[in-house]
Symmetry: C2
Subunit: 298 residues, 2 copies
């Protein structure tokens, strides 16, 4: 277990998610970056051109461009593909990065509250989740450490450790004060935790905490022309991380036929009706509720 000193704080990976962009501006203006003198904290806007146009991306989703083979593929010269290579040079290279932690700041149009998204269940991540959940009980802890490696093409994969702060609901290209404050609070707790972690002061963590574990993605049915045949049921509206039992209605066709949850487990949906997944007709992701004991990881 080595110290986490170099921490990169990133906003604007998606240019229409304004909380991260404005949190960095706000912390710059109010000198908040000096609150953690023990850390080498840097701040970066990942996709300034997408921010300028207030769009998610110019050509392709930057946050899907960090697969190792893509970073090494010289024929990939799209705008975000080039930007990924530049960011990999700046923060990486992936696999040998000097940056010990990257915190990537995102918004969602779904009602996910303040969600801490984690890619690993190791002592550092488990401790962070326990600490954040303890200081901020309304936070949602979400593990996607079971994603297949080929789907981990996220910007944070460049650094040694990476976490995503995902706050919503907030429409794209909108800045809401409450959502900004949720992000600010969560990010502050993460940085406080890193200082505690470096000091080895993990005894103060709670014994166990609630979290959610990714299981699968659900898409809306489409016809042969790729046109949607159904929409997410209003029963699920704004109910991210609320339980859905097998057999419950989750979608409805435009002519009024209900579509039920066919899984054999109590699911906790998230990214319900997320705008960015409009093209792929994604309806929601599913997760299961889990309880994690810190003692199992230290």
């Amino acid at each position: 277990m080595h110290n986490i000193t170099r921490v990169a704080l990133v906003g604007g990976t998606h240019g229409n998610e304004l909380s991260g962009i404005y949190l960095l501006k706000k912390w710059e203006k109010t000198s908040q970056f000096t609150r953690w003198p023990q850390l080498e904290l840097t701040q970066t806007i990942a996709n300034p051109r997408a921010c300028e146009h207030s769009v998610r991306y110019m050509e392709t989703d930057l946050n899907r461009e960090f697969a190792l083979e893509d970073l090494q593929n010289d024929r990939l010269v799209g705008y975000e593909q080039l930007l990924a290579k530049k960011l990999n040079q700046q923060f990486g290279p992936r696999g040998r990065s000097p940056v010990e932690l990257m915190i990537d700041l995102h918004n969602t149009t779904s009602n996910m509250g303040a969600c801490l998204m984690l890619l690993r269940k190791d002592a550092f991540n488990i401790g962070m989740a326990a600490y954040v959940k303890d200081r901020m009980p309304e936070a949602v802890i979400y593990f996607q450490d079971n994603l297949p490696e080929e789907r981990n093409r996220f910007l944070i994969s460049v650094a040694q450790q990476g976490v995503t702060v995902e706050v919503g609901p907030q429409p794209n290209s909108v800045l809401q004060q409450e959502t900004l404050e949720l992000m600010e609070t969560m990010t502050g707790h993460i940085l406080d935790y890193v200082v505690l972690y470096n000091r080895g002061e993990l005894a103060s963590l709670p014994g166990e905490f609630e979290a959610f574990q990714y299981t699968e993605d659900l898409v809306l049915p489409t016809d042969e022309q790729g046109q949607r045949l159904a929409m997410v049921s209003k029963r699920l509206e704004r109910r991210d991380f609320h339980p859905v039992e097998p057999g419950e209605v989750i979608m409805e066709t435009f002519d009024g036929v209900p579509i039920c949850w066919e899984g054999d487990y109590t699911a906790y949906p998230l990214f319900i009706n997320e705008a960015a997944y409009h093209r792929s007709h994604s309806a929601m992701s599913m997760s299961q509720r889990i309880v994690l004991r810190c003692a199992d990881y230290f």
Copy 2:
């Protein structure tokens, strides 16, 4: 007072406002267009290319391209400028249109509920407002008949009469069942009213009703580089059409300084934090509450 027979129902004027686009699809699929056999009802997607890309517009806002002098200016050949000329040919020409009523279906990211936006206070519009408000008490009636003529560059200005159905809150590129149902209900009432109006059966309307009248627009303060210095206060979040008294906090700078409402009247804000007005740093529009008596207009 002549009959309103030719009615054009338009969705997709903004390509990322999904309720109108999907309402037309739904009505097509469920043969709802035949519910009003007395009317010659047509349906159109105004900006199919913007819909395909799920963006508000390709180059410029189509719903600001219908000024008479712009429609007649052959040098304006941007994508939406050309599209406006084609729509003016299809539905107009503006000033001599055979289309007696155009209903334009929009979404807003603001919490405006189901809002009927009207450009005139004549018997036809007053009657429509009274009828809709009576059948759908949660509807908000909003008059912007005091907009200067040069700002009426809307698509609906092409037809003899035009109304906008503006439903929210819904993020761009998202389809929510509840929002779609609000739009469906309001549009149905409008068409029912047109049939009633043609029959001269206006005696059944309520004597008076509440509405809101546009007064002015408020923008966020910016620095010399055009960067925002403040955000809308969270006190106003989701509180479209709730009263704001003179002196109340309506914005806050990023370093925590409150900015108060400086008007000398009780204002009812709308389009609070609307995503589409991000570039112009619009914070909200202001309106005043009014009560209208039908008898004054018939």
